[in-house]
């Protein structure tokens, strides 16, 4: 048998003993790893597609005015002043800052929420009636007039130090949304308050020693 053919041991030849018959392989492929990979990619794309859409947060600033009738009046009793220092420190006082600074307290971003809620509750508890506001709420067709007006006197004044970061500012504005504070203002910090904060945490190193004039 000296014939030379394309492939030796080809199909038709008789095989000697001990030569194994070629096993017929199944044409089925195990698709599990492919499916695994497919779904992994799907999850990846789903996540990246939806998570990259950022949201926006409204911020309305008041117009500067010198006219007395356009200014919002706030009662000292209902005011909570929050100062943002460096390293995510938060300082606050209720009402007016006492001359000996005894009501000047320090907390963190975790603690300030409880303070806001506490202050809001105490303002609501001491609500005695505000005819003008109730009139307005009634005219607007509001159902719960007491709920609309009880926190009318509650005002949060936010005073960031030059060392506060943008994140701090957004966080505290967020806190206003979370606790449904209807009236809040962002105000430039007064020198006396700045000194108090600096006395607690050391001099500020903020980029702007002279913040722009309002």
């Amino acid at each position: 048998m000296a014939s030379i053919e394309g492939g030796d041991g080809g199909g038709g030849h008789k095989k000697g003993p001990g030569v194994k018959k070629a096993k017929k392989l199944s044409t089925r492929v195990d698709m599990t790893p492919m499916v695994d990979l497919g779904f992994l990619l799907i999850t990846f794309f789903i996540f990246t597609a939806t998570l990259s859409t950022p949201s926006t947060m409204d911020l309305n600033m008041p117009k500067d005015t010198n006219k007395d009738e356009e200014l919002n009046k706030t009662k000292q009793s209902g005011a909570l002043t929050i100062m943002l220092g460096k390293n995510n420190n938060v300082y606050y006082y209720e009402g007016e800052l006492s001359p000996d600074a005894s009501n000047f307290k320090q907390t963190t971003f975790k603690g300030i929420r409880d303070e806001i809620i506490k202050k809001k509750k105490s303002v609501i508890a001491s609500y005695t009636g505000n005819a003008a506001c109730e009139e307005k709420a009634r005219a607007a067709g509001k159902k719960d007039i007491k709920y609309e007006c009880a926190d009318e006197d509650f005002v949060v004044v936010i005073k960031p130090m030059p060392d506060a970061t943008y994140k701090n500012t957004v966080d505290i504005l967020d806190e206003m949304t979370i606790n449904n504070v209807k009236r809040f203002a962002m105000v430039k910090i007064a020198d006396s308050e700045k000194e108090l904060v600096e006395a607690t945490e050391g001099p500020s190193t903020g980029a702007a020693a002279t913040p722009p004039a309002q």
């Binding site: 089925r28 698709m31 599990t32 492919m34 499916v35 497919g38 779904f39 990619l41 799907i42 794309f45 789903i46 990246t48 597609a49 990259s52 859409t53 950022p54 949201s55 926006t56 947060m57 409204d58 911020l59 309305n60 600033m61 008041p62 117009k63 500067d64 943002l84 929420r113 809620i117 960031p160 130090m161 030059p162 060392d163 506060a164 970061t165 943008y166 994140k167 701090n168 500012t169 957004v170 966080d171 504005l173 967020d174 949304t177 979370i178 606790n179 449904n180 430039k188 903020g206 980029a207 702007a208 002279t210 913040p211 722009p212 004039a213 309002q214």
Partner: protein, 223 residues
């Protein structure tokens, strides 16, 4: 004795349709995903509970990076918007005597972000596009109210866009300092603009807070 034979069924399932669907979904998501364009300035925004979606039509984007440097960019896709954006630079060129050539003015629309003082604008705009996209810019001076150049940019944008209401987007980095933010707000206020949108990431309302109960009530009301 005859007995009923239960045919032995294979446990193998045919996965082909499953795979078909999987890859169909995969190709859909690959095509539908729009990757974020490379950002010339890297900014990590803080999170907020707000869930309003970002709108970018007719917008002025003011970016504050982690070194509190301020940049500005103008959004616009249509040709009319491009003409308006050209109007901004023409106006700035005339009012500040920058002496820009026509080519440099054309380059303005393709510059992704502007973060140079007026003095450096000519130098920035004469560079080729690759350099304009990657070059480190010193930031627009804002901190001193006398030399606050952002006021001029916003003024020029307002003028160029005429009656169209502009959306002011503020994108600040987590670690940028408050004075830069205050200065940006002040330059907007000096242009009689009082409504801004801060670009933030999203997070849920904390459990038990007044906001979460309000949202729960609102969603019950709509059902």
């Amino acid at each position: 004795m005859p007995s009923v034979k239960i045919p032995k069924k294979s446990t193998d399932t045919d996965m082909t349709p499953f795979v078909d669907i999987a890859f169909l979904l995969l190709s859909f998501f690959i095509m539908a995903t729009k990757f974020k364009p490379p950002e010339p300035v890297k900014v990590e925004t803080p999170n907020s509970v707000s869930s309003d979606k970002l709108k970018t039509e007719n917008s002025v984007l003011i970016t504050i990076d982690n070194q509190s440097k301020v940049y500005v960019s103008f959004g616009g896709k249509t040709d009319a918007d491009k003409a308006k954006i050209n109007g901004i630079i023409t106006d700035i060129n005339a009012s500040r005597n920058l002496g820009l050539t026509a080519q440099e003015i054309n380059n303005f629309a393709t510059t992704p972000i502007i973060g140079v003082p007026f003095g450096g604008l000519k130098d920035l705009l004469k560079r080729p596009i690759q350099e304009r996209e990657t070059i480190k810019q010193p930031g627009i001076p804002v901190l001193d109210s006398l030399t606050n150049e952002l006021v001029w940019w916003i003024g020029a944008a307002k003028k160029a866009f005429g009656g169209t209401k502009l959306i002011y987007l503020l994108k600040g980095d987590n670690t940028s300092k408050y004075p830069a933010f205050e200065a940006v707000i002040n330059s907007l206020r000096r242009n009689e603009e009082f409504k801004y949108f801060l670009i933030t990431g999203q997070e849920g309302a904390p459990a038990g807070s007044e906001l979460s109960t309000m949202r729960a009530k609102a969603s019950q009301g709509t059902q």
